[in-house]
């Protein structure tokens, strides 16, 4: 294939579909098996040093925060992170567990840029390749399709393309320029959902972000759920299953698993907590103190919930909008 232009950044994860297929065939259960376990068990079993890792959805929104905290607690390091997010990426960077970042956006939206990202990248500790938000989602989509790349018409003409690892070719049907994005197959994906059964069949309410794509792009998939439901419930509305069991390796029951982020129809985001962390994040020592208190200082998600306090969490529940 005649390549007109290539992005100059390193391709941190090679788009090897044959390797993915073989891994799946050797390691995943085709039948429905029970996968309920704790965060500790799931992370110990399915996250390894050096893994490529992706989280969904987005820092303050339906994010797998209890899983992220457990990864930090267990000190899984040299991670290759697919960086779309806020809190979860900030945490991983602050704990110094990240080697490379396929970054599209790490910041606090209206509250501004991430101080932790700045320190991690400007110091040269973390290597980056840049992509657009669409590009990252499409890279997962390519992996979900089981193909090595996917064509898109964005990224073109920009430094975002130039400092990615994408390629531009000429379309053999129309002659137009097309940007090819390499599929992003992850070693581990983390997704927080509203409901799952013990086999890993999952339902999500509201927007689905890139859950469909990331779930299918992951060799190992750890799901945390606000609620564990009976499989009969799943079978009653099969069209609501966004993640079928065979994609899933571990199901973790994690009420308030997205805290300090929100979970639509369940609880609103903890604005005060987030603002305090954002303030702390300006200073490395205070950032460390935050991690010490909220992550290293608690044994597990249950203790974290106790530390935050049910009164506070009930208030967040009361603040969330209905349908």
């Amino acid at each position: 294939m005649n390549v007109l232009e290539s992005g100059v950044s390193e391709l941190f994860v090679k788009p090897d579909i044959w390797n993915f297929r073989d891994w799946v065939h050797k390691n995943k259960h085709q039948a429905m098996t029970e996968k309920l376990m704790t965060e500790q068990e799931a992370v110990a079993k399915f996250v390894a040093d050096g893994d490529s890792l992706g989280t969904e959805l987005y820092g303050t929104v339906r994010a797998p925060m209890s899983l992220t905290r457990e990864i930090i607690r267990q000190g899984k390091k040299h991670l290759k992170v697919a960086g779309q997010g806020i809190t979860e990426i900030d945490f991983l960077l602050a704990a110094d567990l990240v080697d490379t970042l396929d970054i599209t956006y790490v910041a606090w939206e209206v509250y501004g840029i991430s101080n932790i990202l700045r320190r991690a990248v400007e110091s040269g500790r973390v290597k980056t390749a840049d992509w657009s938000n669409g590009a990252m989602a499409w890279r997962f989509k390519a992996a979900a399709m089981g193909v090595p790349f996917i064509p898109v018409l964005s990224m073109l003409g920009t430094d975002t393309f130039r400092y990615s690892a994408a390629k531009i070719v000429e379309c053999p049907f129309t002659g137009q320029k097309v940007c090819l994005l390499p599929a992003l197959f992850l070693d581990v994906g983390l997704i927080h959902v509203h409901r799952a059964d013990k086999y890993g069949n999952c339902q999500i309410e509201g927007i689905s972000g890139f859950a469909h794509e990331l779930a299918r792009a992951s060799k190992k998939l750890i799901v945390s759920a606000e609620e564990i439901i009976d499989t009969e419930e799943i079978r009653k509305y099969p069209e609501h299953t966004i993640i079928p069991y065979y994609l899933v390796d571990a199901v973790v029951h994690a009420p308030f698993g997205s805290h300090p982020g929100e979970m639509c129809y369940r609880y609103w985001r903890d604005e005060e907590h987030l603002k305090n962390f954002l303030e702390d994040s300006k200073d490395p020592a205070k950032t460390k103190a935050y991690l010490d208190k909220y992550i290293y200082g608690v044994k597990n998600h249950e203790e974290y919930i106790k530390l935050i306090g049910m009164d506070r969490l009930k208030k967040l529940q009361a603040m969330i909008g209905g349908r």
Binding site: V110, E122, G134
Partner: protein
């Protein structure tokens, strides 16, 4: 008597006025959300806000805090995902796209990635493209909000071209492979309202904000800004606009 207002309120009102009724708009965090909500309650009740993580046609009764939060799809007509939204824009269904940037050049190209000469490690690491690259590539008309109009932000040369404006000028988008007949439409800054000259695709001053002179705009722009034959003065926020903004759009004063 003229109502008092702050700069943020002015930016929101001017941004809101740029959106026609009966259109779709790709909405980012902050001012675009307030502008869309205000426009819906003023002249554009049928404006449809679209958010990058999947919310389509939300009521915007309560102001979202992020582009994925539950308010972006509260009472929405659809709640899908990021691929569907980006692809909807790719197929030409989204009229307006709202963007911001740390730097903008005369062709409306934007930088939100790094400050400094070296990509890595950079002098200053900014958030990255996020959805901006797709918004700037696919929406028919992009509207850029620049809260601070000065020479460090309206620059001759970007440190990094994150999101495409007209790139290097007429025909450059098409040559790069981007969709025809798209590109930057308006730039709303604290000093004035800019458009893009038809032939050269260069930024052109259309209107100054109340109390701001043309010369002030030019003095605060690093590149040679074109100036319309007749530069008008933007109307300040009306009492009606301010009332709706303060009592209905953002009663908790999260942004204003």
């Amino acid at each position: 008597m003229m109502a008092e207002y702050n700069e943020t309120e002015l930016l929101i009102c001017i941004a809101a006025r740029q959106m026609a009724d009966n259109t779709t708009a790709f909405i980012g965090t902050g001012i675009p959300m307030l502008a869309a909500a205000l426009a819906k309650k003023m002249h554009a009740p049928n404006l449809v806000p679209v958010f990058e993580f999947g919310g389509i046609g939300a009521s915007l009764e309560k102001l979202p805090l992020g582009v994925g939060d539950s308010r972006t799809f509260h009472k929405a007509v659809a709640a899908t995902g990021i691929c569907d939204m980006m692809e909807t824009a790719a197929r030409g269904f989204i009229e307006y796209g709202f963007l911001g940037g740390a730097q903008i050049d005369m062709y409306g190209n934007l930088n939100t990635t790094i400050i400094g000469e070296k990509y890595w490690p950079p002098k200053v690491r900014l958030p990255g493209s996020g959805g901006a690259n797709e918004v700037g590539s696919f929406c028919w008309k992009t509207i850029v909000i620049m809260r601070q109009h000065d020479k460090k932000r309206f620059v001759k040369k970007l440190d990094f071209l994150t999101t495409p404006g007209y790139l290097t000028g007429p025909g450059a988008r098409e040559k790069a492979g981007l969709p025809p007949n798209t590109g930057p439409y308006r730039v709303v800054s604290n000093l004035g309202l800019m458009g893009f000259e038809e032939k050269t695709k260069r930024m052109i001053l259309l209107a100054t904000n109340p109390g701001i002179t043309v010369q002030q705009v030019l003095d605060n722009t690093d590149f040679a800004m074109l100036v319309a034959d007749k530069v008008v003065e933007n109307e300040p926020p009306s009492e009606e606009e301010l009332r709706i903004l303060r009592t209905e759009v953002d009663p908790d004063r999260l942004y204003i």
